[in-house]
Amino acid sequence: MGKTIGFLEYKRVDEGIKKVEHRLKNYNEFTVPLEEKKLKEQGARCMDCGIPFCHSGCPLGNFIPDFNDKVYKGRWKEAAQILHATNNFPEFTGRLCPAPCEEACVLGINEDPVTIENIEKNIVEIAFKEGWIHANPPEKRTTKKVAVIGSGPAGLAAAQQLNRAGHKVTVFERDAKVGGLLRYGIPDFKLEKNIIDRRLAILEAEGIQFKTNAHVGKNVSIETIKAGFDAILLSGGASQRRGIPIKGNHLKGVHQAMDFLKMSNQYVDGLLKMDSILSAKDKNVIVIGGGDTGSDCIGTSNRQGAKLVTNFEILSKPSQGRPANQPWPYWPMRLKTTSSHKEGVARHFSISTKEFLGDKNGNLKGLKTIEVEWIFKEGERPQLKEIPNTEKQWDCDLALLALGFVGAEKTLAEQFGLELDYRTNIKATTKDYTTNVAGVFTAGDMRRGQSLIVWAISEGRQAAHHIDTYLMGRSNLPLKDNNDLPRV
């Protein structure tokens, strides 16, 4: 299998991206796919390892060497089959996943790893183009009905799996469109929304019902759900945003990143007008939080025409390379420079925001920071220490808080009477994804806290298996083993 010396013959080649000045002109995806010959060569770099660590590093357990081999041989259809055997939505992960598989790639020990994620994306795109991906409604239906609450990747994956098992699945989404964070959190330049729609059309054709503007616990009562369904999956995400409890956080111009991004996405979708959204145009934008959401805010701000974009991260600047205490094949914390970063931002690390400054009208005008350092002691949580005399004041019209999430919203938990874990997620284990209430399951960020799309899909798939078992006494839905590489 594979080309035995492919990794010696070919270097890693990533797909191209359009130049900054071109991509800032609109919100479209800006990647330039590799030609097929090059893609095959990239597939040929896979060494078909005796232990494919990538396969373990992938939370979905994608059969990476197996589809790489098919790509190398140009057998795209089979590659797509293999890929879909573990992943309901490779078009999402192929674009958005931070690719822990590539960090675990054996070639990555001393070379650039295989471009697994890009191969994944190309497999699924070719499969769509060739029409290989189409609705496959189940041949037999059971009499069981399942409600999936929340239409993010976890909910959608679970819905598709449960539908495949023959159950009648209804997905409830409180927003106007299906997709959850995929639709409202991720900017189009990373995931054009027609990609979601393309998949949704298939899910619908397979018989899944979608109810939008249906906020369970608000405009759809818990009782209706309980009465109408044999099992319920809660996959509403970890949408409780983290705030910043400092002086001035009420000022106009201090906004949650998610609000900013959602409006921008709605604008791009044509649902909102430019003037009705929160815009960064001509503003001094400071994005607080150095993660992926922060990065998305930067990219969006630049597209909206911000005057200056600055980014703060309270943690110290990670190293470029793999830190010694996070060796291969584990997921390392290292400096990540996204395409958005490259579009224009000043990044500051080890910096803590102390206060928002406003004018008398309550408009944000600036903010105050102090530099910090982290004290590490064996066996203790790292301590944050402010460095005296490093206070600094910044001009700022728009502060975007991209500080992460602190768990699930309370509504569902309260109304269903669900136990929470210590991080305020809904309590359920990966053993069976069931909550303390019989017939009520939870998966994705709602269960595990904020995480990656790939984990959401994975949890959705696992939960579907357990729901199926709950309903039928046994399940043929695939179940992943517990051979995930741990985090260190």
Partner: protein, 1500 residues
């Protein structure tokens, strides 16, 4: 005899022997012949063994003419005239009443046959000479004299009646249940010969049997034999010779031979016997040795009217199948008889006699030495070695040797030697065999095919694949490559998955069987390089009455490769033209809903149907699992095949029909091997045919149409089966079929006894219930499960490469990651995580040790346990050669182990001398253990001198019984240098050591190596399998210092996947068996027991120690510590972390450090210490073998493993108090008597002052390995450089013992005036050896066999001049020696990789097989070269280049100077005329390598 207990099974005892005969051609009877014959045995004493009591031999005996005059004088009754009566010694019970009982029965049967009991005579014996063990089992010995009565019987009829009387007596007494019935035994019963034998050492035979020294006790001939048993529980009746023969070697195919002989009984009819014939059954008595059982068949065949030489030709045929030059009549004879009898295969040299003829036959492989001498005064002496009887050179008429497949015969009545051709020509012309074959034997290939689709009308392939448990790996890793390449796929890095019984994945029943393989007691074979001795054809149809010699015998259907396609099977099914073949198809299906009972019922029904078919004249039965459906599930083909096979035996119908298996199940070589091994005669894997056809259609297989691709697959399976057979030393499928050379692991006794009788299963396991459950599981998932869209159709498998949800592997992402992290960060806590993972996962059914838990705690403080620094001295790293792994990785391990005082292992690849010296920083790259494997790469005197331990690799865990190959591309100049070979020339490690075909050979090699370095321990590496305990006992008796028991799972390097998965056992079983057997034999104290095979943690080590190991080897784990990530591509040279690669770019990626390995060893030792503290052991010595500290872990509950019974593994053998269970003393190697020391005492000026010295000395065959000690002394002082040429010259007269000049180094010139035995110049390291006929001899040198087999094995440099002919395998694996010889036997220059061989005479068959380097010049005066050369890969040309001519000429000149060879003189005298008769043999690979080197300017 010891009974079975624990892991020990008595049936796995082996023996090998010394044998010989002497006779007077002139028919002169004398008592002296007896003395001389016994002298032969005494001179072969080193080939025998003595037991723990120091006195009891393993058995010896002598067969002679009946000394008529002696009996006339010594009997109190009157005897008829010579040969008109029969006489025999009779072994009788000790108790008088039982003795009387036996005598009465015997006399009754004699009288019934109309014969007379003339009288009984007490045999005078001296019991005082017996050893303790022998005395216990000593029978009462009387002699019986039987007359013909008054009827006129000819000799044949008289013998027939004697035979019937004896057989009936044996059967009656054996079924009488008297307590001492085992004592009753007749060594012989003949009118011509009599046998005296017993549990004696040779020199005591004549003391015990007082008759033998009486001057009237005279004979013309004497056949003698002594045993070397691996074990120590011999019995009197198994001493040899037997009635017609004795045997040196081993019959591997015994099980099949015996059961097939028994099955043929049903068909036996004879006018001579009439109704009596049934009363002589069974022909072959159970529970006897292979030789004894063969003798019984010989006896029967003699009763069919065949002559003794003919019988020998039938039982031990020469390799006729692939010999295009064999005369047609002879070939027809063999082919005809192959329809009657399969070969009794295995290494065998069989001296035989019926009193009229005395002779010997050597099997097709020729693996046992047999030398003979004819004297001018009319004696013929034959024995395993030459020089056993001192003969004045002037009296020698000729010296010769028995050649493979050849017979040597003396007609005692005519008083002459009859040569092989004459005997055989006469025998093969007795009947029109060729005509019979042409008329009656049908070849499958000749039946015209009918074209048809590959598919049947059946359920979709996809569904059926699931029913039969196919995985993506089966399709992609097994079937596709085999169909594409026609070869079995290979893999690397061993097997770290659970055995079938511990696997949570449903397993096919095949996986519960492990292939047996040869180690020590018999050699594995090389079916690739020695293809001409192999054959996988089979014949189908009914056997017929063995008494008849007519054309009915060959009414059979012959298949060249019995792995057949669907089209072939259709041909058989539809072959109606010939009424000789009646085909019946029986469905192997059962109604799955009805469950276990239905399965059982259907199996019984299968037998009924088969039986009925046979009754109706059916002679080909097809068992077919076609027609699987939602209702019907398949019965495992192996289960059905074996059951029908055995049940038909039981009801006496087996011989009348052949079984064909038409099944979707078999896909791997192992599956087919099992089906044939349990009785199938042909197999059609029809679903594989369909899969291949699909793969062709889908272009997964390219370049072939589907028929060709199927053919490729069938060919690959055929080759694979050949390899499986070869592994256990079998050459022909005809004798492998039904021989059941497998061990079960994980099946309970009930299912084995019922369906696989006579197969070993020792730790129990699942039964039919669980098997049915697994069938049902697969059937359900195919038929009763809705397929989920988006899921994959077939499971991946994960057997060969790790996959989530696939088969488990001990090394997986997490364990590898944790281990690497721990050794790099030196964090104990991380190692703890790793070891918890490994130990924890193994407790979840990964390994047998995982099922154990520690018990009987007796905690002591950790500080009281010996320090880790002491413990790690018992640690070793595995044998991995520089070549298989990179220089960096290899040296890394050596440095690490030297830092902590452990031992690293050179592997089979030599070692660069610069590593023998320490680096300036104190590090030392010298591998403490130097390995000696079958390729002998770089094994020189200096290499051995620099070892602390020398390891003889008998087998390798990953691929026991197989050789290896380092492709030329990997042999870069550095590697070539350390291996003393030529760069870019591929190197083959043969499957066997060509100097170890038996236990006495191993003993010899141990002696050789011990001589080469007296300070080094000799370590013998064995692989765990059933019987390894008895082998270990044999090794202890052969004086190995350390015995390593390797698990089946270890090993880097390339190996066929079949071997990786299906050969060998976990070390837990082998180690326990070895420990128990060694302790039982009181041999444990003499040896160190070592264990390896996927040892990963301190817990693993602790369990190994408790089971008996005191030293421990690690290979995979230290590699992982050094950066290995289990790529399993070692065979591809693409290791991405720079370990198993020679690619300079990849080697740069090696990031391992010695401290990583040190840390690993430290962590393991610490974990061990913690366990020791818990259990209460202060030292490892205290802990060895304390099995009471282990228990079966009760908490593991899994439906399959619940049936396991591990108590045999944890068995504590009962031995007298004080019996040591660990090593307490060193072996006595007995080197002080070595001739080397005598010479060294005289050679001081040469050794220390480099003064030229000449010494003269006598030498005998008991002076073995001369030169090894001497060379060791030279190497110690001068290193590899040795002494200046010709510094010390020694002139010997006499017959040199084995291994003359072994490892002899530079500066020595050793000359023999006389002759020499096997292994001359083994590992020659620069010395000059000369063997020439004595001056006083009248022999014509180039007609005289002057040296034995396997000369210059592994020679690296030096010169050898042989003034005469050599035996088989001259210059085998020579990589640098220069040799001139005047004629050689078969397989000359095999695997040669360098050096020069000049052969001035004839070469035997298969010359140059596997020769990849060096040049041979052959003087082809007899035009036989073309017939005999194996031309594959060789350039055969004239000697035309100036350089070649001058090289050749100077070599011939040297030869003349050294030996005064008349032949050399003739050739040189007329050089111009003779030169064109020379042929130059130049391997293509060597030629290319030389060109490449020339390009690289590396050649001067």
């Amino acid at each position: 005899m010891l009974t079975r207990q624990g892991m020990y099974l008595p049936e796995f005892e082996h023996d090998n022997c010394g044998a010989g005969f002497i006779c007077s051609l002139k028919g002169v009877k004398s008592n002296n012949i007896i003395h001389k014959a016994l002298q032969i045995l005494e001179k072969l004493e080193h080939r025998g063994a003595v037991n723990a009591d120091g006195k009891t031999g393993d058995g010896a005996g002598i067969l002679i003419d009946i000394p008529h005059d002696f009996f006339v004088k010594n009997c109190e009754f009157n005897l008829p005239k010579e040969q008109a009566y029969a006489v025999s010694n009779v072994f009788l019970p000790k108790r008088e009443n039982q003795r009387k009982f036996c005598i009465e029965i015997f006399e009754k049967h004699i009288t019934e046959q109309g014969l007379d009991v003339i009288g009984w005579r007490d045999v005078p014996v001296d019991e005082s000479v017996l050893g303790k063990i022998a005395a216990l089992t000593q029978p009462f010995i009387k002699q019986i004299f039987i007359g013909k009565s008054n009827t006129i019987l000819d000799d044949f009829q008289f013998n027939l009646k004697l035979f019937i009387a004896r057989k009936k007596t044996e059967h009656e007494i054996n079924s009488s249940k008297i307590s001492e019935m085992a004592f009753f035994y007749l060594p012989s019963l003949s009118t011509k010969i009599i046998i005296y034998k017993g549990l004696l050492i040779p020199e005591d035979i004549k003391l015990f049997y007082k008759d033998l020294t009486d001057p009237l006790f005279v004979t013309r001939l004497a056949l003698v034999h002594q045993r070397f048993s691996t074990n120590t529980f011999p019995t009197w009746d198994l001493a040899q010779p037997f009635r017609y023969m004795c045997h040196n070697g081993e019959i591997n195919t015994l099980r099949g031979n015996v059961s097939r002989t028994l099955s043929r009984q049903e068909l036996m009819k004879s006018d001579w016997f009439g109704d009596e014939i049934k009363s002589i059954f069974p022909i072959i008595l159970p529970g006897k040795s292979d030789s004894a059982q063969m003798d019984m068949l010989v006896e029967l065949l003699l009763m069919t009217g065949r002559s003794l030489p003919e019988v020998m030709m039938i039982l031990v045929p020469e390799a006729w199948e692939k010999n295009p030059y064999m005369p047609e009549a002879k070939k027809a004879f063999y082919e005809y008889n192959s329809c009657i009898m399969e070969p009794w295969d295995g290494p065998a040299s069989i001296p035989f006699t019926d009193g009229n003829y005395i002779g010997a036959v050597l099997d097709r492989n020729g693996l046992r030495p047999s030398r003979y001498s004819v004297t001018k005064d009319g004696f013929v002496i034959m024995s395993s070695e030459t020089g056993v009887i001192e003969i004045d050179p002037k009296n020698v008429a000729s010296h010769g040797r028995l050649e493979p497949g050849k017979m040597f015969l003396v007609d005692m009545n005519q008083g002459r030697i009859i040569n092989d051709k004459e005997i055989k020509d006469e025998i093969v012309s007795r009947h029109p065999y060729k005509k019979w074959l042409e008329k009656s034997l049908v070849h499958l290939a000749d039946i015209p095919p009918k074209k048809g689709p590959i598919e049947h009308q059946e359920d979709p392939l996809e569904k059926r694949q699931i029913v039969f448990g196919y995985t993506q790996e089966d399709l992609g890793i097994i079937i596709q490559p085999m169909s594409q390449l026609g070869k079995e796929p290979i893999g690397s890095m061993g097997n770290d998955s659970p055995i079938a019984i511990l696997s949570e994945k449903p397993q096919l029943i095949y996986n519960y069987f492990k292939q047996l393989f040869a180690q020590v007691t018999n050699p594995p074979l090389d079916g690739i390089r020695e293809e001409l001795i192999t054959d996988i054809s089979l014949t189908l149809g009914s056997d017929t009455n063995i008494f008849k010699i007519n054309e009915d015998q060959c009414k059979k259907l012959k298949i060249q490769n019995p792995v057949i396609s669907k089209h072939d099977l259709d041909k058989i099914k539809n072959y109606t033209q010939n009424p000789d073949f009646v085909v019946t198809t029986i469905a192997m299906l059962y109604e799955v809903d009805k469950g276990l009972n239905e399965l059982e019922r259907t199996l019984i029904d299968l037998v009924k149907q088969a039986s009925k078919a046979i009754d109706q004249g059916g002679n080909i039965i097809i068992l077919s699992d076609r027609g699987v459906s939602k209702k019907m599930a398949p019965i495992p083909a192996l289960l059905a095949c074996s059951f029908v096979n055995h049940e038909l035996y039981k009801i006496g119908k087996r011989a009348r029909a052949s079984l064909i298996i038409e099944s979707a199940e078999p896909r791997e070589v192992h599956h087919f091997a099992l089906l044939f091994g349990f009785g199938a005669s042909a197999v059609n894997p029809y679903i594989v045919n369909e899969i291949v056809s699909k793969q062709v259609k889908e272009q997964e297989i390219l370049g072939f149409d589907y028929l060709e691709a199927i053919n490729n697959y069938n060919k690959a399976v055929g080759l694979g089966i050949l390899k499986v057979m070869n592994k256990i030393g079998i050459s022909t499928l005809n004798s492998y079929r039904g021989s059941q050379l497998f061990e079960c692991i994980g099946l309970n006794t009930k299912i084995v006894n019922q369906y696989f009788p006579n197969t070993v299963t020792r730790i129990q396991g699942i039964g039919l219930r669980e098997i049915e459950r697994e069938i049902c599981k697969r059937h359900t998932s195919a038929y009763n499960t809705d397929t989920i869209d988006g899921s994959l159709h077939l499971d991946f498998g994960g057997q060969y490469k790790w996959r989530r949800s696939g088969e488990k592997h001990a090394f997986n992402p997490l364990t590898v990651a944790k281990l690497q992290e721990s050794v790099r960060s030196n964090k104990h806590s991380t190692f703890k995580e790793y070891s918890d993972l490994v130990n924890g996962q193994s407790k979840k059914l990964m390994t047998i040790r995982g099922l154990f838990e520690f018990a009987n705690f007796d905690p002591i403080p950790l500080e009281e346990v010996e320090p880790w620094t002491k413990i790690v001295k018992r640690f070793k790293t595995g044998a991995m050669s520089y070549g298989s792994i990179s220089k960096e990785a290899h040296e890394n391990l050596a440095i690490a182990m030297n830092r902590i005082g452990g031992k690293s292992n050179s592997g089979e690849g030599g070692e660069d001398q610069s590593r023998f010296y320490k680096d300036s920083n104190g590090d030392w790259k010298n591998s403490a253990i130097k390995q000696v494997a079958s390729g002998r790469f770089g094994v020189t005197s200096n290499y051995l001198t620099n070892a602390t331990e020398i390891q003889i690799k008998m087998a390798q865990g990953a691929k026991p019984g197989e050789g290896g190959q380092l492709p030329g591309s990997k042999v870069n100049p550095d590697i070539a240098k350390t291996r003393n070979s030529t760069p870019y020339v591929g190197l083959i490690s043969p499957p066997p050591h060509h100097d170890i075909y038996s236990i006495e050979d191993l003993s010899q090699l141990i002696y050789d190596l011990k001589s080469a370095n007296r300070n080094a321990r000799i370590n013998v590496k064995l692989v765990s399998e059933v019987g390894v305990g008895t082998v270990a006992a044999g090794v202890a008796k052969a004086k190995g210092d350390v015995i390593l028991i390797s698990g089946h799972d270890g090993g880097t390097g390339a190996t066929p996947l079949t071997s990786m998965k299906h050969a060998g056992l976990p070390w837990e079983l082998g180690l326990a068996e070895a420990q128990q057997t060694l302790v039982l034999n009181n041999l444990r104290n003499r040896v160190v027991l070592e264990c390896d095979g996927q040892l990963k943690t301190g817990r693993d080590v602790a369990i190994a120690c408790l089971l008996g190991a005191e030293e421990f080897g690690f290979a995979t784990a230290p590699l992982v510590a050094s950066g290995c990530v289990m790529m399993r591509v070692c065979h591809l040279n693409t290791c991405p972390v720079g370990i198993a690669t020679q690619n300079p770019e990849l080697r740069k990626k090696f990031k391992g450090k010695p401290e990583h390995v040190v840390n690993f060893m430290y962590f393991v030792a610490q974990e061990l210490r913690e366990i020791m503290a818990q259990l209460g052991f202060r030292t490892v010595d205290e802990m060895v073998g304390q099995v009471q500290k282990l228990n079966r872990n009760k908490t593991i509950d899994f439906y399959k493993s619940n049936g396991l019974d591990l108590s045999p593994v944890l068995h504590q053998v009962s031995v007298p108090e004080g019996t040591k269970v660990f090593n307490t003393e060193a072996q006595d190697h007995d080197l002080e008597k070595s001739l080397d020391f005598k010479i060294i005492r005289q050679a001081h000026p040469a050794l220390f002052r480099k003064e030229k010295t000449v010494i003269a000395s006598k030498i005998t065959n008991r002076d073995r390995a001369f030169g090894a000690i001497l060379s060791n002394e030279i190497s110690k002082i001068y290193g590899a450089q040795g002494l200046p040429d010709n510094t010390l010259k020694i002139n010997f007269t006499g017959s040199a013992g084995q291994s003359f000049g072994a490892f002899a180094t530079k500066g020595l010139t050793l000359v023999i005036n006389g002759n020499a035995n096997d292994y001359l110049g083994k590992g020659l390291s620069g010395a000059k050896l000369v063997v020439k006929v004595p001056d006083s001899s009248t022999l014509i040198p180039d007609k005289n066999v002057i040296i034995g087999n396997v000369a210059l094995y592994g020679a690296t440099s030096g010169e050898v001049y042989i003034n005469g002919k050599a035996g088989e395998r001259f210059c085998v694996r020579n990589s640098g020696g220069v040799a001139v010889v005047e004629g050689i036997g078969d397989h000359g220059c095999e695997y040669m990789t360098g050096g020069r061989a000049v052969i001035l005479g004839e070469v035997g068959r298969n010359f140059g097989a596997g020769m990849s380097g060096g040049i041979a010049y052959v003087y082809n005066a007899y035009d036989t070269f073309n017939i005999n050369c194996n031309k594959k890969g060789l350039n055969i040309e004239g000697v035309k280049l100036t350089d070649d001519i001058s090289e050749l000429k100077s070599l011939v000149e040297n030869h003349y100077k050294a030996t005064l060879s008349p032949l050399a003189k003739r050739i040189l005298g007329n050089w111009k005329i003779h030169l064109p008769k020379f042929i130059k043999v130049l391997p293509e690979e060597y030629k290319q390598a030389l060109l490449r080197l020339a390009n690289e300017n590396l050649v001067e």
